[in-house]
């Protein structure tokens, strides 16, 4: 009988999601094989980029969110503020790379095919021609110091296209709250180093061959019907 008393009742286990319903993020799958973007981007780079780099951002993002949740619950303001840079960096990394995988497509699935329809018109109106846009984005991408992204975005308020760069893993919204990314090119060295070494301009020239303009057009049509 004494033994029975020792047997404690199983407490209600909190679900792994946690009290507040905190969502954890996981690595999205690619819709194409790692090697299918060759020779523009090598399979080795795609695999490392997806399985290692993007996964690391997600892991650290989840960790930071968990810590944030704890700090909010405790009312620990200084920790809440301290965690912001980790959330911006890792969360931004997750957001940006999720868009990036959708921006690329193998050639046989339409990668590299120029945009038609309203996005094509908007590009010609705003930049003169698709080539002019590509030149502009490549120039800005090559000139970017250190690590960052170069974006083609649309301002959903003003309804016009913009080309912007962001540093490190800052998402496009940090350059303007109304900006919606259509295409992003990762110019962190990990995105091209194994194949192109320090010749970033070659990477920028070749990535357009596997650019998924269909995705960009879809997003544009949704923002500017």
């Amino acid at each position: 009988m004494a033994l029975r008393a020792l047997v404690t009742r199983r407490t209600l286990r909190t679900s792994p999601i946690g009290f507040r319903g905190l969502q954890t993020f996981s690595l999205p799958d690619l819709t194409y094989d790692y090697g299918s973007l060759e020779p523009a981007i090598s399979g080795e780079i795609m695999q490392l980029h997806h399985q290692k780099h993007h996964q690391t951002y997600i892991t650290n993002y989840n960790k930071a969110l968990e810590q944030l949740d704890g700090a909010i619950a405790k009312g620990d303001s200084s920790t809440v503020v301290k965690l912001q840079s980790a959330i911006k960096f890792n969360g931004g990394g997750h957001v940006n790379h999720s868009i990036f995988w959708k921006n690329l497509a193998p050639i046989r699935e339409g990668g590299g095919e120029p945009p038609k329809g309203s996005l094509g018109w908007a590009i010609d109106n705003h930049f003169g021609s698709l080539d002019a846009l590509i030149q502009k984005m490549n120039a800005e991408g090559a000139a970017l110091q250190g690590s960052g992204w170069v974006w083609l975005g649309v301002d959903k308020e003003l309804k016009h296209l913009v080309v912007e760069t962001t540093a490190n893993q800052d998402p496009l919204v940090t350059k303007g709250p109304g900006l919606v990314p259509l295409l992003g090119i990762d110019v962190w060295e990990h995105a091209y180093y194994l194949q192109y070494k320090n010749v970033r301009p070659d990477y920028l020239k070749n990535i357009w061959k596997v650019m998924n303009w269909k995705y960009a057009s879809d997003v544009y049509d949704k923002e500017c019907p």
Binding site: S85, Q145, G146, S147, Q169, H190, Y193, N198
Partner: protein, 272 residues
């Protein structure tokens, strides 16, 4: 503001080379066969031989103090070839091209150039190239074949004074390297005002000279520094640097030089 004012402490790390552009003396070869220095010779000299002497100061690419394969297997020859021969050389060439167009910045030592182009936080276009040239020169010299182990004598004592122990310093340095975002450098500096050692993270090309601190060691954590050898395993790279590459000899020499400018108190001469 005198942009070319010399700072009182210029670290002789600048690799300045004076190049003189000159028209070749084409007629000299021909004149050797003509023994006389007649009026024809002088006419030719004056006509063809307009020597244009223009002195320009350029920066040269300094070689690391060891062969490119000397850091194997911790840093491969391939990495040195691309990092030094590609990136570092690229910065030097870009800087020289920028200086060609800008008279005011001639004649500065590298340290002066960095401070002037940093422009108190609003950097001029030359800053990135100048600072990266300096940073990489410093980086190659911060490493040596058979590096790692521990510092000795007064440097070790100073580290133990400022970080409690060498192990703690190593941990803090590694942590700084692993928590840096994007392209960055990690430094061990001697702070001039506080008269102590500190670990500093800087992003992109910034280096502690702009805050008037004295660098002792640095580590390149731009991805290009380790990607070919370690891919995304930054921790492995940083640990390898601390255990096998870092040159405490170079650090000790820099520390000794720094003490000419920063008074760290009575030297504690260890009893033999």
């Amino acid at each position: 503001m005198n942009l070319l004012s010399c700072s009182s402490n210029s670290w002789p790390l600048s690799s300045g080379v004076v190049a003189v552009t000159d028209q070749p003396l084409k007629s000299l070869k021909g004149s050797l066969s003509v023994p006389s220095f007649g009026w024809e010779q002088r006419r030719d000299n004056l006509r063809n031989n307009r020597r244009v002497l223009k002195v320009v100061a350029y920066y040269g690419l300094k070689s690391p103090p060891y062969k490119l394969d000397a850091l194997e297997p911790y840093m491969s020859q391939r990495t040195l070839e691309v990092h030094w021969g590609g990136h570092h050389r690229g910065y030097v060439d870009a800087l020289n091209k920028q200086l060609e167009k800008n008279d005011v910045l001639y004649g500065c030592t590298m340290d002066e150039l960095i401070n002037v182009t940093y422009n108190n936080g609003n950097p001029l276009p030359e800053f990135n190239n100048a600072a990266q040239v300096w940073n990489h020169d410093f980086f190659w010299e911060s490493m040596q074949p058979g590096g790692g182990q521990m510092p000795t004598l007064s440097l070790l004592q100073q580290i133990e004074k400022d970080f409690a122990s060498f192990a703690n310093f190593k941990e803090k340095f590694t942590e700084a390297a692993l928590t840096s975002f994007g392209s960055a450098w990690v430094w061990l500096v001697l702070k001039r005002e506080k008269k102590c050692l500190a670990i500093v993270k800087t992003s992109n090309a910034i280096n502690p000279l702009v805050w008037n601190d004295i660098p002792i060691i640095n580590l390149d954590v731009w991805e290009h520094a380790y990607y070919l050898d370690y891919k995304n395993e930054k921790a492995k790279y940083v640990n390898t640097f601390m255990n096998h590459l870092v040159s405490w000899d170079a650090a000790a020499a820099r520390m000794a030089r720094a003490q000419a400018f920063v008074n760290l108190g009575e030297p504690k001469i260890p009893v033999a």
